[in-house]
Symmetry: C2
Subunit: 362 residues, 2 copies
DNA sequence: CTGAAAGCGCTAACAA
DNA sequence: TTGTTAGCGCTTTCAG
């Protein structure tokens, strides 16, 4: 009747065994392999356990013994709380989760990208590495762990399985669309190219020393389209680099571009979040979209549809699922296939229109 | 020079110690407490480790030894991949993450609510339990783990710290708003009341045996407002229960309500996701919102603003953060305060308007 | 069907 | 500054 929790420490499997005069192995079996012992004995064991306050096998000890953690780690370029605020990151995680949950694995989301220690000591069977700054210590730490890794949207693959998006192609489509509509001056709202972050006009070396693949590829897609149209990049384009992927930041940057002397007639944003901010900036400046200003986003997150934003679709959920599947394949001992390049596609909605011909003289 | 990875098994700390003729503790210190040994020796150890292919202390063994996992677990009412698709869940997780990341803890997201085994063997120092069906085995498993738990939006608190939302009050405000606008017939798009799920009109016993707190509270808030206005619930209201919280489901249910004989003039949706579907159904049926039909959502997720949806705001991020903080407090040995009830507030936007007076005879 | 033995790899007292 | 000791709590052959 009385739960005999004699000592201060918590009861262990051994205590239960001792109390019943059976071996620890038998108690273990009662929990892990019910078929390995008689129902009667099992019942007795479970009852004794309850009375002793034994709560079942300790997961930490079990993990050590079994040599596996039952979880896969996800390392992301930003603070974890930010990952949930970024719709594109949420879609990606949704994809990863859809793969891992089928295998019964949990997802261990690491709190921040700038604590290699957390990476070093995370109890995981593998890592999905998403957009880490090239050369960062967390990236290094994950790769050195000796567990399978999958790299997503990274510049370098370090011989690991990797998933890529055709960002260059998507950006090219976006810029080409605007060129086809007659636009000749562009503002680019760029995601952070380099780590550590800095807001402002990126100088050339900042591009050369870029830490992130997506903005680099997108920039070069934009450039290819614009230069192929016979325009000179420096004259036709103004680039501003965000120090955060948020609507607020997009609004700030767009306002700066749009209220300057050489205000562009079209904006290329490297994310829908930035584009959303640009939309607000335009509204605040009294510019009508798309009549006065065309805007193209990137990612095609769910709210882009609601906002009727012309944008570049990337298969973000699929990207995540693929990453998860590649990791599972490695865990299963399969040799993974070559890196995958997923397609992008321009989705024309309501924020782009032909450039209005402005009378040169009033 | 040659990396001497002699045996098949991976090198351990002990191997490094043996190779150098030092004690395991010293090697351990080289990694965990650099100040406890001379830089020179530490350097030698690190070099030897590299040569032996030793990758640093095994997290699993370290966890066991230290008796802590460095992660907090989150159990959610649905498949994990769904949590990322539900904007409200993402906001909640954002809040939890913002609390735990400051403590340097990772978030272990469990793959599905219907696998108590995963809960039982998750390597975590505590659980945030979010909207689990009352009486579910996962809930039971988490509470039996003997680690701190925080319950969020649960019917029963089991003596644990808990966080609640004033759902009854929020729902009351929503219904009152519609009543004030002259509406007298209502359709309610309900979240699942009971587990297992079932779509359709909930009978009374389904409400009595409800597994989830939010829909129950919201229903009773709606009811209080409507009956206080002197209307008879059964006559004024049609309730349809969703079997999933998605726009698609909302669209299906709304269509059913709106194309029936006694089509209501106003819809109360228990989530913005369902309301979004209702908006689509209205559009498909040629109903103008808000002229022909008023719609109120619930949650106030980011896209509600973009869609100009009248809805009930709940402080979802704060709810998550609070849950995280309560868990951290327990982990720190503090005795947590009484359960918290967070406020809700109606946000009137563009999807509600006075009931149009319809000519009774043509 | 049950038990004995042998660690999994590490860390934290404490001792030297 | 470094080493010794003693497990953390469990699982898994393998014998009986």
């Amino acid at each position: 009747m009385s739960s005999a929790k004699l000592p201060g420490r918590r009861a262990t499997l051994k205590d239960v065994a001792a109390a019943l005069g059976v071996s620890p192995a038998t108690v273990s079996n009662a929990y892990n392999r019910p078929d390995q012992l008689s129902p009667a004995l099992r019942e007795r064991i479970l009852i004794a356990a309850r009375e002793l306050g034994y709560l079942g096998p300790d997961p930490l000890a079990r993990n050590l013994r079994r040599g596996q953690a039952g979880a896969i780690g996800v390392v992301y370029a930003d603070r974890l709380s930010y990952a949930f605020a970024d719709p594109a990151a949420a879609l990606f995680l949704q994809g990863v989760a859809s793969a891992t949950e089928q295998a019964g694995l949990s997802l261990l989301l690491l709190p921040t990208p700038d604590s290699p220690d957390t990476v070093t000591s995370a109890a995981v069977d593998g890592f999905v590495i998403y957009c880490l700054p090239e050369g960062s210590s967390s990236l290094q730490a994950a790769l050195s762990r000796g567990v399978p890794c999958v790299l997503v949207d990274q510049l370098v693959s370090y011989g690991q399985p990797a998933v890529y998006i055709d960002d260059e192609g998507g950006a090219h489509q976006a810029a080409q669309h605007l060129l086809d509509l007659g636009h000749r001056t562009f503002g680019i709202l760029s995601l952070e190219l380099q780590f550590p972050r800095r807001r402002g006009r990126p100088c050339t070396d900042r591009e050369a020393g870029a830490s992130f693949r997506p903005p680099l590829e997108r920039l070069s897609g934009y450039r290819r389209a614009i230069e192929s149209a016979g325009l000179r990049w420096e004259e036709a384009v103004q680039v501003l680099e965000a120090n955060e992927n948020s609507p607020e930041e997009g609004e700030t940057l767009a306002r700066e571009l749009l209220s300057g002397e050489r205000a562009p007639t079209a904006l290329l944003a490297m994310s829908d979040q930035l584009a959303l901010g640009a939309l607000r900036a335009a509204a605040n400046l009294g510019l009508r979209v798309p009549e006065d200003l065309s805007i193209v986003g990137y990612d095609d997150v769910p709210s882009a549809g609601a906002l009727n934003l012309t944008t570049v679709h990337q298969p973000t959920v699929r990207k995540g699922r693929l990453a998860g599947e590649l990791l599972l394949a490695q865990l299963a001992g399969e040799t993974p296939a070559a890196p995958e390049l997923l397609p992008t596609e321009l989705v024309v909605r309501g924020t782009t229109a032909p450039r209005r011909t402005v009378p040169t003289h009033p």
